[in-house]
Structures are given as structure tokens and as C-alpha cells.
């Protein structure tokens, strides 16, 4: 599952992450395009018990959340 949260205002990237994690998937990819959203999603995912790997691609951040 991949969620494109690029360019969305606060707190939509975290909200989309919250909704994606509801079904407790083994892994999800979240795309964001700024450090604020990257930090917010990372913290939320960690709190929900997911580990987060971040890679940067053309100025976007691809966050891989795994349980």
C-alpha cells in the first residue's frame, strides 16, 4: 500500500497515516515532500508501533513503515 501525502497541509499526512494503519497492515509507504510532515508521520508511526525507514528521492521523502 502506498499513500501519497505530498503537498498536503497539516495535519493531513498524519491523518492519512492514521487511517492507513487502522487495518494494521504489515507495511505501508507514505510519500511526503517536506521535513515537517516527515517528522510528524515518523513520530506518529513510531507511537503506533511501526519502525520507519526514510529515503529521499528528488526532494520527496519516502517513508516505509513496517510493523
Amino acid at each position: 500500500m502506498q499513500i501519497d501525502a505530498r503537498g498536503l497541509s497539516c495535519p493531513q499526512p498524519v491523518l492519512l497515516t492514521q487511517q492507513a494503519l487502522k487495518s494494521q497492515p504489515a507495511s505501508v509507504e507514505i510519500l511526503v515532500d517536506n521535513k515537517t510532515a516527515e517528522g510528524n508521520v515518523t513520530r506518529f508511526a513510531a507511537k503506533a508501533g511501526y519502525s520507519v525507514a526514510v529515503r529521499e528521492e528528488n526532494g520527496d521523502f519516502i517513508l516505509t513503515l513496517t510493523k
Binding site: 505530498r6 503537498g7 498536503l8 497541509s9 495535519p11 493531513q12 491523518l15 492514521q18 513520530r43 526532494g59
Partner: protein, 362 residues
């Protein structure tokens, strides 16, 4: 994660202390910082409205934007972006500003007023929190102003550039501007102290993502206290500072630049809360984002500026309550202000509904 919470709390404490220091150096009481009031003063100084008591180029605002701009460059976070419903954002900014001037302050000043013992601001906070909750309901149902996109470098540089132009005007050609000779606009900290305060707060707010709306919003939506700690830090430091200087006075009547009409304090802040959630952040946060190159936030600030001018040109802004020697009370919200506050709440709800679409499961 602990570090970030600590950073927010410490930044809040510092910002609260700086706000009290600005009052010490000359700003109006409970108005060390007020984004709405200060943008309104800038609108006055440039002749966009003629309310003689609230006209001045507030260096705090210029500093906030430039502090965030420099900090975002240092942190490699400066990023020109825009294109997310700019006209809607302009209108939201306009409405948030008019409502804030019916209350007499932005969310940041609301906190500073509470820290001064102003119970009218506590009523404002109740309305503000209710407005945020209403906004959260729309967010949960899929409210969005859609995406921003990358913009050319110059698009992001223009807004910080405008602050530099205003600063040059203030320093080199003040005769071109209109400055209040009495009233709140005449009460001001020295230029370089005010500018330095703005720069520091702008840098801190950029680093920590401090937001007066985000605190309550994130607590409700994600049980996340982080941003609220900034809000609490400001409240605590300003409260302690006000007590130290003997400015703390717990009352409704006789508060500096405030009115005592509870219903309109609550309703106007309801509109500020709802409108700010719809914008993705409070007026302070919009200034910071504009400094980081976000042109949607810059458009929002232009909405604030024009809203402030309209609020005074059409007598929508409230006047501070004054009690004469014979006991007669003047001031408070105007008839126009009351009508427009209701209209703003209705319009905000219409815009919220229009931009809410239930996302289909993928």
C-alpha cells in the same frame, strides 16, 4: 520524541518571556506579540485603513518572517511551494483576521491575555477550542484544500523580500508611513529590540513548528501533546512575567485592549479556530510558512492584511471596553462586527463542506 517535547516547552517559555519583555520595552499590555493586531497596524501604517490609533510597521512581524526564512535556509528547509486553493486561502485569511479583530487578538494574544488574568480571553479560548473541534470533524471527513506544488525560487523569495522592503522603509523613510500618535499603535518597543524579538521567535517557531491551533487539534486527533506544550510554555512564562512586573490582574472588566462581551468573544474565536484549522495553522504559523517559501501561506497573510483594512474601514473591529467616571460603558463589538461574525461562521461552514469529500477506500 522526548527531545521534541522539551524543545517545544522551552521555546514556549522563551517566547512567553520575550512577549513580556516587549511589554516592558513599550508594547501595549498583554500584547507583547499579536499577529492579528500587528498586521492590522501594518495595514494602518501603509494607509490601507485610517484608524489613527492602530498604525505602525511592527518590526516583530518582519522579524518573524525573516527569522523563519534564515532558519529554513540554514536547515535546508526553504522550499518554494504553492498552488493549493490560493483564493480560498485568501478568503479564509480575510475572515480569520476580521474575526480576530472582533475578539481583539489572534490565538497567540489570546494566550498572553489569559496570562495577564483577562477572563474574557478564557471565554475566547472556549470558543476557539470549539472552533478547532468543528474543524477536526471536517478534517476527519476528508476536508482538504488539495496539494501544493513546487514553485520557482523567486516565488518563495518574494514574501521575505517584501519584509526587507518594509524594514528599509521603516528605517530609511518613516515619513512615507503613517504612525499612531496615541492608542495601542503608539505604544511600541524600540525598533531593534522588536526586530530582534521577532527574529528569535521566528527562528524558534520555524524549528519547533509551534502552532497555536495545532496544539489542541493534535491532542484531539492523535492524542499528541507536543504542540500544546508550546502553547502551555508561553502561558506559564507570560503568567510568571506578568506577576513579577505586577501586571497580572484577574478580572473581566478593565483589561488592556479587551472588551467584555462574552458571547462575541466566544463566537469570534470560534471562527478563528475553525478558519485556522481549515488553513492548516494559526496566524503565527502562516507567517513562518510564508518565510519558508510557502506562497499559499503568503497569500493567506495578504488575506489577513486586507481583512484587517476592511475590519477598520467598515467598522467591524471591536473597540476596547472603556468605563467613564459616571459609570457608562463604551466600546465592545460593533453591530457590523456581530453581523459579519455570524456571516463568517456560516461562510466558513459552507467552504468546509464544499472542500470535504469522503475519500473512497482504495
Amino acid at each position: 520524541m522526548k527531545n521534541r517535547k522539551l524543545a517545544l516547552l522551552l521555546s514556549g517559555l522563551l517566547i512567553g518571556a520575550i512577549a513580556v519583555a516587549l511589554v516592558y520595552f513599550g508594547n501595549p499590555k498583554n500584547m507583547g506579540f499579536c499577529i492579528a493586531c500587528f498586521i492590522r497596524d501594518i495595514a494602518g501604517a501603509t494607509g490601507m485603513h485610517q484608524a489613527a490609533v492602530v498604525q505602525y510597521i511592527r518590526p516583530e512581524i518582519l522579524g518573524l518572517v525573516l527569522g523563519a526564512f534564515v532558519m529554513s535556509l540554514l536547515g535546508k528547509e526553504f522550499s518554494p511551494r504553492g498552488g493549493s486553493a490560493p483564493v480560498t486561502r485568501f478568503c479564509l485569511g480575510f475572515m480569520v483576521m476580521v474575526a480576530a479583530l472582533v475578539f481583539l487578538g489572534c490565538p497567540l494574544r489570546m494566550v498572553l491575555r489569559i496570562a495577564g488574568g483577562d477572563l474574557n480571553a478564557v471565554i475566547g479560548l472556549v470558543g476557539f477550542a470549539a472552533g478547532i473541534l468543528a474543524g477536526v470533524l471536517f478534517l476527519k471527513k476528508g476536508y482538504s484544500l488539495k496539494r501544493t506544488y513546487r514553485q520557482p525560487l523567486m516565488e518563495g523569495l518574494l514574501f521575505p523580500g517584501i519584509q526587507v522592503v518594509l524594514l528599509v522603509l521603516l528605517l530609511a523613510a518613516p515619513a512615507l508611513l503613517i504612525f499612531s500618535e496615541s492608542g495601542p499603535g503608539s505604544m511600541r518597543a524600540p525598533i531593534f529590540i522588536a526586530l530582534a524579538a521577532g527574529l528569535i521567535v521566528g527562528a524558534l517557531a520555524q524549528r519547533t513548528r509551534l502552532c497555536m491551533v495545532g496544539g489542541i487539534r493534535d491532542l484531539v486527533m492523535f492524542k499528541d501533546w507536543t504542540l500544546l506544550l508550546g502553547f502551555l510554555g508561553i502561558l506559564i512564562a507570560a503568567l510568571v512575567g506578568n506577576i513579577i512586573f505586577g501586571w497580572f490582574k484577574l478580572s473581566m472588566v478593565g483589561q488592556p485592549v479587551a472588551h467584555i462581551d462574552g458571547l462575541w468573544n466566544a463566537l469570534s474565536m470560534f471562527a478563528v479556530g475553525l478558519g485556522s484549522v481549515m488553513l492548516g495553522g494559526c496566524p503565527l504559523r502562516q507567517l513562518i510558512l510564508a518565510g519558508e517559501g510557502n506562497s499559499d501561506s503568503a497569500v493567506t497573510v495578504f488575506g489577513y492584511l486586507v481583512g484587517a483594512a476592511f475590519a477598520h474601514n467598515f467598522k467591524l473591529a471591536s473597540a476596547a471596553t472603556a468605563i467613564a467616571e459616571d459609570g457608562s460603558i463604551s466600546g465592545g463589538p460593533t453591530m457590523g462586527g456581530k453581523v459579519v461574525t455570524i456571516a463568517i461562521i456560516v461562510l466558513l461552514l459552507v467552504l468546509a463542506i464544499a472542500n470535504t469529500k469522503q475519500e473512497k477506500a482504495k
